[in-house]
Structure formats: C-alpha cells, structure tokens
C-alpha cells in the first residue's frame, strides 16, 4: 500500500532550537495537510497546500512556524525557535481531494525541553 512518509519519527530538542519535519506525500496526490495533535487541543489544522501552493496557513503561528513544498515529493514544516508548548505529534496527510479521503502519515512526535 502507498503511504505518507514522515521523518523523523521522534525528535527531542532544546527550547530555542530549529526543528524541521519532513513529509513525503503519496506520489500523485495534489493536496497536502499539516496537522498537530495534543492532548488538550486535539487535532488542529496548521496548513495545507494544493499543487504545492499554500492555500491556508491560518492555523499556524506565523512568527515561528513555516511550511513549504519545495517540490511535489516533499513538504516541510519548520519551527524556529522551538518552545516547550510546541511539543505535540505533527501529522502530514495527502490526497486528491475531500471526496477521495486523505491518507495520514504516522506522525512526528516532537518534544521540546
């Protein structure tokens, strides 16, 4: 089965450090999402792209977060500087559109100490 690949699987970093999370969407999928999951807030949409163009990043703290798609096979989510409150599991998902459903990766568990 095709899958969305996220790296790293786990990341522990110190407050103030830069963190980059990567996502390889399923080949051919034209829509990519970044979600964050915490116990308190649940699943929150951070940003999403269609055909590599950002469509909505209103859920993302702009001062420290950035999301890009350098090419169709790679999406990145960067946090600089990281803070303890950024500790969460970050999921990437890709698909062809809402009707077809989206495939989620296994997530990156980020711990900022």
């Amino acid at each position: 089965d095709a899958r969305v690949t996220q790296t790293p699987r786990d990341k522990v970093t110190e407050m103030g450090q830069e963190v980059t999370m990567r996502c390889q969407p399923i080949l051919g999928h034209n829509t990519v999402f970044w979600y964050r999951q915490t116990m308190m807030q649940g699943l929150e949409l951070l940003a999403y792209f269609r055909n590599r163009a950002p469509l909505d990043d209103s859920g993302m703290p702009k001062d420290r977060f950035s999301a890009e798609m350098p090419d169709a096979t790679l999406a990145t989510l960067k946090i600089q500087p990281s803070e303890p409150r950024d500790s969460a599991v970050y999921f990437c998902a890709s698909g062809w559109g809402l009707f077809y459903g989206y495939t989620f990766g296994s997530g990156t568990r980020l711990t900022v100490v």
Partner: protein, 113 residues
C-alpha cells in the same frame, strides 16, 4: 464556527458486543462527515464518509454510520466488536467549500476479552 462534539471520551465494551460511538456537529448546511480511526503510534485511517444520498453509509472493517440531520448527528456503529478494534476514533466535518477537516476530540475504545 462549526464544531464537532464526541461526548464520550472513553468507552469500554466486551468483545462481540455491539458498539455505537456518538458524534454531533454544529453547522448550518449539510456538512461532509467522516470517521477516522487511530491505532496507538499510528496516523489516522479513514473508516467511512458521508457526502450526500443514503444516510446510512458503510465503511471498512465492518463499520457503518448514520447521518441524522434532525439530530445533527453522525454516529458510528459496529454490530460485533473485535479486540483489534481497540483504538481511538475521531469524527470530522469538512467546512463548506473547503478541504479543511475539523476533528472532534476523539473517543478511546477499549475492548475487553
């Protein structure tokens, strides 16, 4: 703003028993509705979705859900639960005209032998 409510944080059932997980949404128009399942340490997997038409939808793994407009509900059911169904279940709704999914906080299912 629309929202999704899953009233039950945790449900425990015996293997072989029937299951119903509740989901209520608040949205003016007919929403697009989804159920996802998340196993520990994994991403979310789409179980089923409702866009229009027959209000009883069938999904994977023997799950079904019924859309009830009058109750603003989209409850997930399974006639006989298997131990492998133990996981966390998320109801989600798509905003009209948008690809963005708004998730409920999830219901954790425990299956007793």
């Amino acid at each position: 703003a629309q929202s999704v409510t899953q009233p039950d944080i945790h449900i425990t059932v015996s293997e072989g028993a029937s299951l119903e997980l509740r989901c209520n949404y608040s949205y003016g128009a007919t929403p697009y509705l989804f159920w996802y399942v998340q196993s520990p340490g994994q991403g979310l997997q789409l179980l089923l979705k409702y866009f229009s038409g027959d209000t009883l939808v069938q999904g994977i793994k023997g799950f079904e859900a019924e859309f009830k407009r009058s109750q603003s509900s989209f409850n997930l059911r399974k006639p006989s639960v298997h131990w492998s169904d133990a996981a966390e279940y998320f109801c989600a709704v798509a905003q009209g005209g948008s690809e963005k999914l708004v998730f409920g906080k999830g219901t954790k299912l425990t299956v007793n032998p």
